[in-house]
């Protein structure tokens, strides 16, 4: 067993060597690990190696509210709550790590290429807002309205919707900052420690990892697609599947795009990220010219100047999708102290995970507002609490 980095005090804990083991060292796992560590909990993060699918390294980096939770207002409100926490969260991470996150929240846009598309989107956003008036407000823009915010918008754009709650960030720097901040706050980060088995043991949990046995009082499953395999070991259910998104980034360009769109944004460094394919192809994260060409063609309709930009990189990444696309939060009934966290919006939800969810887990509970996110909604079989 590898006991490097474990203090005498931690080793002597009755529940094991840590209060909480977080399985998964991506943005979701590290947000929770950071949140728990800053509350004084002793946390071990068990991460896989570089073979992991790593949605955290391939994502689109939006902190996004618009259009989320159209069929589940609780998700719209949860996303908005996190987005509202994001400014303070980013500032705290920057102060603790010296990392510059380039977080910006000037609002975000969705472009529509026809009146019908614009009508349909406006209808859906209005319905959500009527159902739950506390959800983010939005504004319908015609072509001229879009042009005022986005001078380079193309003539084939009919209009769009603007939501002031939306923003974006440099998500790779966020990932790095969360990693440093968690470690600075006392978390014990262990790479190459993929969890093979997990069971209840001595009032806590025991994990067999690639680097030996680990014990902890509580366990948080934040392993992305890996949760599907781990969850049943502690009486939980994680019906998640991979959904591929392909993304490309252009050469660094002079700033021209001052607001992020759902599928196009210009980063703080000047590159334009273009993406958002949705493909059901299993665990295949490769990228393909046919799909990328389609993405590029749509981007040029939105912003004709992009025809002159060169693409310098493209990649595929796997979203962690539940059957309805919303997060799953559960505490096990059969194994209290085992929590499940999974979502495909780990960037947007990072602030709520670090500040709200981590505080709940530290108290050994999930707030009533999160009950609606239990995996029980998918099958009626009672597995979670």
């Amino acid at each position: 067993m590898n006991r490097l980095g474990i203090s005498e005090r931690a080793s002597a804990l009755p529940g094991g060597e840590a209060d909480v083991a977080v399985i998964g060292g991506g943005v979701v796992g590290l947000s929770i690990a950071y949140g728990l560590s800053r509350l004084g909990r002793r946390v071990i993060v068990l991460d896989e190696g570089d073979v992991a699918h790593r949605a955290s390294r391939g994502n689109f980096a939006l902190v996004w509210v618009q259009g989320k939770g159209l069929s589940m207002p609780e998700y719209a409100l949860w996303s908005l709550r996190s987005a509202d926490l994001w400014g303070g969260f980013a500032q705290e991470l920057e102060e603790r790590t010296g990392e510059k996150l380039s977080y910006s929240r000037k609002g975000g846009l969705m472009a529509a290429l026809s009146e019908e598309e614009l009508d349909a989107r406006t209808f859906e956003l209005s319905r959500l807002h009527n159902q739950a008036p506390d959800t983010a407000r939005f504004e319908r823009l015609d072509h001229a309205g879009m042009k005022r915010l986005l001078p380079e918008i193309g003539p084939s754009v009919a209009g769009g919707t603007y939501c002031p709650a939306d923003g974006h960030v440099n998500s790779l720097r966020l990932f790095s900052a969360l990693h440093q901040a968690a470690i600075n706050a006392g978390a014990d980060y262990r790479p190459n420690a993929a969890v093979e088995t997990l069971d209840a043991h001595g009032g806590g949990f025991r994990m067999m990892t690639a680097r030996g046995e680990v014990r902890a009082g509580q366990v948080v499953l934040a392993a992305g697609l890996g949760n599907a395999r781990l969850a049943p070991m502690v009486g939980l259910d994680a019906p998640v599947r991979p959904q591929r998104g392909q993304v490309m980034v252009t050469e660094k360009l002079a700033p021209f795009l001052h607001y992020p769109l759902g599928t196009i944004r210009q980063t703080d460094e000047g590159g334009v990220m273009i993406g958002d394919s949705k493909e059901e192809v299993g665990l295949d994260n490769s990228s393909h010219h046919a799909v990328l060409a389609g993405i590029a063609a749509r981007a040029i309709r939105l912003f004709p100047l992009l025809e002159h930009a060169r693409v310098v990189r493209s990649w595929g990444a796997l979203r962690v999708m539940s059957p309805d696309g919303m997060p799953i939060y559960d505490q096990s009934i059969t194994h209290p102290g085992a929590f499940l966290v999974t979502c495909h919006s780990g960037i947007t939800l990072a602030a709520a995970h670090a500040e709200v969810l981590a505080a709940d887990i530290a108290e050994g509970r999930l707030a009533a507002e999160l009950a609606v996110f239990s995996a029980r909604r998918f099958n009626g079989v009672s597995k979670g609490a």
């Binding site: 360009l253 000047g270 100047l305 310098v312």
Partner: protein, 101 residues
């Protein structure tokens, strides 16, 4: 600092930052830059640090220059041509106002 190992063939006239330079047929723009004593091809858009030829084989994208008005071209992969205008410095291209062709 750099000199040509094979220095023969008819000269190819091009300009580097407005300065007339003679290169050799078949050599890359990067080679012509080095032979002319230019080792800083551009500056990092992020940090302002100096950048120049690194891998020399089209992989690292460090040797980007502007050629005939088109920014961010890989100087190690592009052969010199008569009348070519090469500009170092490497500012991020400004596409604003450019319509589709």
């Amino acid at each position: 600092m750099f000199r040509r190992v094979h220095d023969h063939g008819p000269p190819v006239a091009l300009s580097i930052d407005g300065r007339p330079v003679l290169a050799r047929p078949g050599e890359s723009v990067a080679a012509a830059l080095l032979a002319a004593g230019v080792t800083t091809f551009r500056r990092s858009a992020k940090t302002g640090a100096e950048r120049g030829l690194y891998c020399g084989m089209g992989v690292c994208f460090e040797c980007l220059v502007t050629i005939d008005g088109v920014a961010n071209r890989q100087s190690c992969l592009i052969p010199v041509a008569p009348g070519m205008r090469v500009e170092t410095g490497g500012a991020a291209p400004d596409l604003a106002g450019k319509a589709a062709s």
